[in-house]
């Protein structure tokens, strides 16, 4: 960000050819440039005439903060303009006239010399000798003006500014911006600080931070006692940027600004040096922001594979683990592709793909290594201190172009000699080919396959050092093996874009994702980081187009074979539906495309509708193994594939969750409706009616898998009932649902008859028929700690015969369907079931955190949330090496949103019911509800919410309140929320 007159050019008449060429080259190299000036576009663009092609952007912030132009190959176009009202315009004129009048009253002639956009300019020394003084004579000018003012009793420039400020106030301008360049005083509605703020916000949304920025001017310091005009660029949001002055600066420079001097030539020298560094492929800054950085020092052979999973770079299409660039016995480089499976039936697993990250050679025991994952930008930095020198690298998997990868390395030339840049996965056959600097590798799956292609270019970087850029593309096809030419063609496009453009796009995409989804917790930095770690991997793992076959461990590892469970529908989807709906839609599309298989599964079991499988992969048929070994090596039957049928209603619920957040009518009347209808049909055919008219679902496994084959599981029955009713409602509203009134009425009738185990006298739901008759063990009291795998502690048989619950079951019903359970039943069921829950599943703590927060037990909730957020960071299962726990990560967001913030999306309103732990100063969430971008900040006893476009918000049990972009502030008094000051 730089000033124009006196900083980039000596004056407005100077030849700006060097600047033009430099700006265009900087733009090609990926630099963003912003010119900040008081003058107008005709002057600046007329002189500069740059036509940058990108990827770096050029903005002209002109008319002293009132206008912003984006300049491209076709020239400047306005992107922002502050338009003064007629009253404001009149007030500006009156203010200037008043100021001139008051100066004249003291005998000082001053003139209004221009009426510019949103400001008026008063010449304090309208003498021919000072008609157009060069910047180099600024100190003489200051002296002359000061003397002139003093001769008429005005205390220098500060005095003139004060006269102008008071005139502006008297003219009715409450927030006038009064500045001086020594010769003039300007009264305006905006100033350079507005330009600075606009630019800083704009580049923030491109993934850049102040520390990535240079601020250059020539008038930062005091001029005759008033702050120089460029000092206005030093807004608080710019803290961390490098400030440089090339001006004379007779009054010195403010702290933090470097007095370079030398005028425009000196600035252009600095910019050319930056360009040379970029052209030499110097690496981006290594992050030092602990709130956003996961740092792994050294290689711990025991934890290396877990670390590699934590450092995974994913883009929704492929995931690359964070293994080191050089070989080491403990590392396991791996790339996985979304939904690309190999094998058949229960042996189906994710196909290992070609690896793009390896360089030549191995690490030695004496080598020191460091890896930093910047969660904000999705960049992985590696630094390897080798015997022959330091090797530094940055890698990313493009969020803007899923399936595109990039690596830039600087280091000992001998390490950059690897030809090809692709490695076949271990123990897999691969076809290879290529020509020149391009190589490809092709790996076939049982159905379909992947072709990866990379291109490399090398530069020397001095004696024995070199630089390498490697870019690559992955083309995945789930039906047929892709042709190498497809990957090579895609690679050409990527090469043409180049590393810099890819980096700019990638950063900007991540900046937008965080803008949509960041959660801020003030007062708990450790939890803040853990939450961002979860959000990062959730966002990275799901594409926002096509279908998303999100396995239990996402793209970060092969565990669970990439099989898809209710984890993706119930645990992951809500966070995406509320922040990035396209990704949630992709999760649902995976199920929609497998309706055929689900219908077939239902038919084979003699049922109607669609019976989705417990474990799913490519085909959509069940891939749950029927047998497995338990921890002690004993063969145990696995009945979940056969009996854990609540998945059918879970998928319907996921569709409704998506609809609640988006109001997507096309989905709601199309494939979403089909999902809901077919799942309802399944339940209608599954339910058994007894002779008294009661309806039952026999022989299932609920979420609590310690108890298999039970009847009338409260969760399954509750979800099935909801599924039937919701489908009936949706079908009734749709034009062509294929469901006639008789069928809908039948669903409603059987839903009404379905038992749910609720006893109004106790307020409790019986988890399944006969649960209360089981041995009343309270695991909270008998286990050495919780969580605990209670089946290992007590044995399968004992647990099955006792009231020991693996994970939220009845409580899961309260979490997903808070309006469907009996009013007031959460408290008694939480009191009963929570102590009986072993939390033997990583899916459990986050859900309990949400429920505990809802009931105001915030400290207990916080403990559960911390546990959920650390499952992978602390490798609590000793299986993070197999991949990150996606469902646990989703439950972290749910605990914050549905628990602590008490968010509930409705058709017409968005409801909040916050409960903040004492340790937190604030909780901020970003949401998207039916197209409205919502920002909510919750402080103790206060809630501030903005929505654009406006929507209706309810807080607690209050009435709906309209909320717009200006926001409202609500304060809690006793149990009521009332509007405070905005």
């Amino acid at each position: 960000m730089l000033d124009w007159d006196g900083t980039a050019v000596p004056d407005r008449r100077a030849d700006a050819g060097r600047v033009r060429h430099l700006f265009e080259a900087l733009s090609r190299a990926g630099f963003d440039i912003a010119v900040v000036s008081g003058t107008n576009v005709d002057n600046v663009d007329g002189q500069l005439a740059a036509r940058p092609a990108g990827p770096g952007e050029l903005h002209l912030c002109l008319n002293r903060g009132s206008e912003v132009f984006a300049v491209g190959p076709a020239g400047p176009r306005v992107v922002h303009r502050r338009v003064a009202t007629a009253e404001e315009d009149a007030a500006l004129t009156r203010a200037a006239e008043l100021a001139v009048e008051r100066l004249a009253h003291r005998g000082l002639e001053a003139r209004i010399v221009s009426e510019r956009l949103n400001r008026r300019k008063i010449d304090l020394i309208p003498e021919p000798a000072w008609a157009d003084p060069p910047k180099a004579r600024i100190d003489e000018l200051v002296l002359a003006v000061t003397d002139r003012l003093a001769a008429h009793g005005v205390h220098g420039l500060p005095g003139a500014v004060e006269i102008a400020r008071r005139a502006a106030a008297d003219a009715g301008l409450a927030d006038a911006r009064v500045t001086s360049d020594a010769k003039h005083v300007e009264i305006g509605l905006t100033d350079k600080s507005d330009s600075a703020r606009w630019i800083l916000e704009h580049v923030r949304l491109r993934g850049l931070r102040p520390r990535d920025m240079l601020l250059a001017g020539d008038e930062f310091g005091q001029l005759g006692g008033v702050p120089g005009s460029d000092s206005l660029m030093l807004v608080s949001e710019a803290a961390g940027a490098a400030g440089v002055s090339v001006g004379v600066e007779p009054g010195g420079v403010p702290p933090g600004v470097i007095a370079l001097g030398g005028g425009p030539d000196a600035l252009l020298d600095v910019l050319e040096q930056q360009l040379r560094r970029r052209t030499r492929r110097e690496l981006p800054h290594v992050p030092d922001d602990q709130d956003w950085t996961l740092a792994i020092e050294g290689i711990d052979p025991e934890l290396e594979r877990a670390h590699e999973a934590m450092l995974t770079l994913a883009d929704g299409a492929i995931g690359t683990n964070g293994s080191l660039l050089l070989a080491h016995p403990a590392t396991a480089p791996r790339v996985l592709a979304m939904g690309l499976y190999d094998g058949e039936g229960t042996e189906t697993e994710l196909l290992p793909c070609p690896v793009w990250t390896q360089l030549a050679g191995e690490l030695e025991p004496s080598d020191r290594v460091q890896r930093l994952l910047d969660l904000r930008t999705g960049l992985l930095h590696q630094q390897l201190s080798l015997r022959e020198g330091v090797l530094r690298a940055v890698l990313f998997s493009s969020a803007a172009r899923p399936g595109t990868v990039a690596l830039r390395v600087e280091g000992p030339a001998q390490r950059l000699q690897r030809r090809g840049g692709l490695a076949a996965p271990l123990a897999r056959g691969a076809q290879a080919g290529g020509a020149g600097r391009r190589r490809w590798l092709c790996v076939a799956a049982s159905h379909g396959g992947v072709v990866a292609a990379v291109a490399e270019s090398r530069l020397s970087a001095g004696r024995k050092m070199g630089r390498l850029d490697r870019v690559g593309t992955y083309v995945v096809d789930h039906a047929a093996l892709p042709e190498p030419v497809e990957a090579v063609e895609a690679l050409r496009e990527v090469e043409q874009a180049g590393f810099e453009r890819l980096l700019v796009e990638h950063r900007a995409t991540w900046a937008r994702r965080w803008e949509e989804a960041d959660v801020v917790i003030e007062g708990d930095p450790e939890l803040q980081f853990a939450v961002r770690f979860s959000l990062f991997h959730l966002m990275a793992s799901v594409p926002d187009s096509g279908e998303a076959a999100l396995g239990a461990r996402g793209l970060s590892g092969p565990a669970y074979r990439g099989h898809v469970f209710w984890d993706s529908d119930v645990f992951v989807l809500p966070s995406l539906a509320a922040t990035h709906p396209a990704a949630a839609r992709a999760l649902l599309e995976y199920r929609v495309r497998r309706l055929l298989a689900a219908r077939e599964a239902a038919r084979r079991s003699g049922r109607a509708g669609a019976r989705f499988p417990w474990e799913s992969a490519g085909s959509g048929f069940d891939v749950t193994p029927p047998l497995a070994y338990d921890r002690t090596g004993r063969v145990i039957p696995i009945r979940t594939g056969e009996l854990e049928e609540h998945i059918v209603a879970d998928i319907a619920w996921a569709a409704s969750c998506y609809l609640d957040w988006t109001g997507d009518e096309e989905f709601g009347s199309g494939s979403g409706l089909t999902l809901l209808v077919e799942t309802a049909r399944y339940w209608a055919s599954r339910i058994r009616l007894d002779q008294h008219g009661g309806a039952h679902i026999d022989g299932v496994i609920g979420p609590d898998e310690y108890h298999g084959r039970v009847d009338d599981n409260a969760y399954t029955n509750g979800m099935a009932r909801w599924n039937l009713r919701y489908a009936a409602h949706l079908a009734a509203a749709a034009h062509a649902s294929g469901v006639d009134a008789a069928e809908r009425d039948g669903w409603l009738a059987v839903a009404d008859a379905l038992v749910d185990g609720y006893d109004a006298s106790t307020g409790l739901y019986e988890q399944f028929a006969g649960f209360f008759a089981l041995e009343p063990l309270v695991i909270e009291e008998i286990a050495p700690r919780r969580p605990v795998a209670a089946d290992a502690l007590l044995g399968h048989d004992r647990v099955r015969a006792a009231q020991v619950v693996k994970q939220a079951d009845v409580l899961m019903l309260h979490h997903l369907l808070p309006d469907e359970v009996a009013p007031g039943s959460l408290e008694p069921n939480l009191a009963f079931y929570e102590p009986r829950t072993a939390h033997g599943s990583s899916l459990s703590p986050g859900i309990h955190a949400a429920l505990l927060a809802r009931t105001g037990r915030t400290e207990q909730a916080l403990a559960a949330l911390r546990l959920a957020s650390r499952i992978d960071l602390d490798d609590l299962t000793q299986t993070t090496a197999g991949g990150l726990h996606m469902a646990a990560m989703g439950s972290v967001w749910q605990a914050l949103a549905f628990g602590f913030a008490g968010v509930r999306p409705g058709r017409e309103t968005l409801r909040f019911d916050p409960h903040l732990p004492d340790a937190w100063q604030a909780l901020e969430l970003r949401l998207r509800h039916r197209g409205s971008v919502v920002r909510v900040r919750i402080e103790p006893g206060e809630l501030l919410v903005h929505a654009n476009p406006p929507l209706a918000v309810r807080v607690g049990d209050g009435d709906p309140i309209p909320v717009g972009p200006a926001g409202i502030r609500l304060q809690r008094r006793a149990q009521e929320w009332t509007e405070g000051n905005r």
């Binding site: 080598d367 299986t879 090496a881």
Partner: protein, 269 residues
């Protein structure tokens, strides 16, 4: 050539000690030397050595400059001695507590020590070794070489991990996948040559489960990593095994603070 030093007494335990020493020396591709501290006669010791085809080195106790244990330790410190072998005690009668010489060696010897019960049946070559792994780096590091040796000599290895109450896993989502994932990672962390090693996992008290697993798997040698302290509450497995095992116990000293890497620090945030 390196050697295994078998310290025998003039008792019926000498023969099984030498037999175990011979089998162990084969595993290490080393020679075997028999050493007897003569105190009250030596005919049984000589006969055992002769039957094993070994020369017998004898030191008269009354001529020793120091104690018997000092002499044995000194002999064991020789550069070419890779490991020592000693009998647990002279006789199998009673509960078979460990004899005092064996105990002293156990807590002092810094090299692997094979302790042989007086009644042990020792095959000419070890066929199967039980290697309990407690999931700590130190134990894994200590026993890795034993597993390597077994692998190189085509000896079966049964690795055993016992989940105690405090070390039970926190979560176990879907056993049909969780167990496989956990096992794979356990091997990667603690056990070389996973393709050749059978992993047995138990839940309960480690000491009980070690002996039971040895019996069930028909292992003829148990290798234990340990920190050489038999104090109260420590080394329960070692004590139990020494007292009740029917097969020789190989004690491999664990080096405290053993690390695999140059640095080992993990930061998160």
């Amino acid at each position: 050539m390196s050697k295994v030093l078998a310290a025998i007494d003039n008792s019926a335990a000498a023969r099984p000690v030498l037999a175990a020493g011979a089998a162990f020396a084969r595993l290490l591709h080393a020679d075997l030397e028999a050493l007897h501290l003569r105190e009250n006669g030596d005919r049984t010791a000589r006969a055992a050595a002769e039957a094993a085809g070994l020369p017998l080195r004898e030191l008269a106790v009354r001529e020793l400059p120091g104690s018997k244990i000092a002499a044995l330790l000194a002999a064991g410190e020789a550069a070419d001695v890779e490991a020592m072998v000693v009998g647990a005690r002279a006789s199998r009668i009673g509960r078979r507590p460990v004899g005092h010489i064996a105990l002293e060696l156990i807590v002092s010897q810094l090299k692997p020590l094979l302790v042989v019960p007086p009644h042990a049946f020792v095959p000419e070559r070890f066929q199967r070794i039980l290697v309990p792994l407690d999931g700590t780096r130190m134990t894994s590091a200590a026993l890795a070489q034993t597993i390597e040796l077994a692998h190189d000599s085509d000896v079966d290895v049964v690795a055993l991990h016992v989940h105690e109450q405090d070390s039970l896993p926190l979560f176990s989502d879907q056993p049909q996948h969780e167990v496989e994932t956990w096992r794979r990672e356990f091997f990667a962390r603690h056990c070389p040559h996973p393709e050749k090693v059978r992993l047995e996992v138990r839940v309960g008290i480690p000491a009980e489960n070690v002996l039971r697993a040895a019996s069930e798997s028909e292992s003829d040698l148990i290798a234990l990593g340990w920190a050489q302290s038999l104090g109260e509450g420590r080394a329960a497995i070692v004590r139990e095994a020494l007292e009740r095992s029917d097969v020789p116990i190989l004690l491999v000293p664990v080096v405290r603070g053993a690390r695999h890497t140059t640095s080992d620090q993990h930061e998160a945030g």
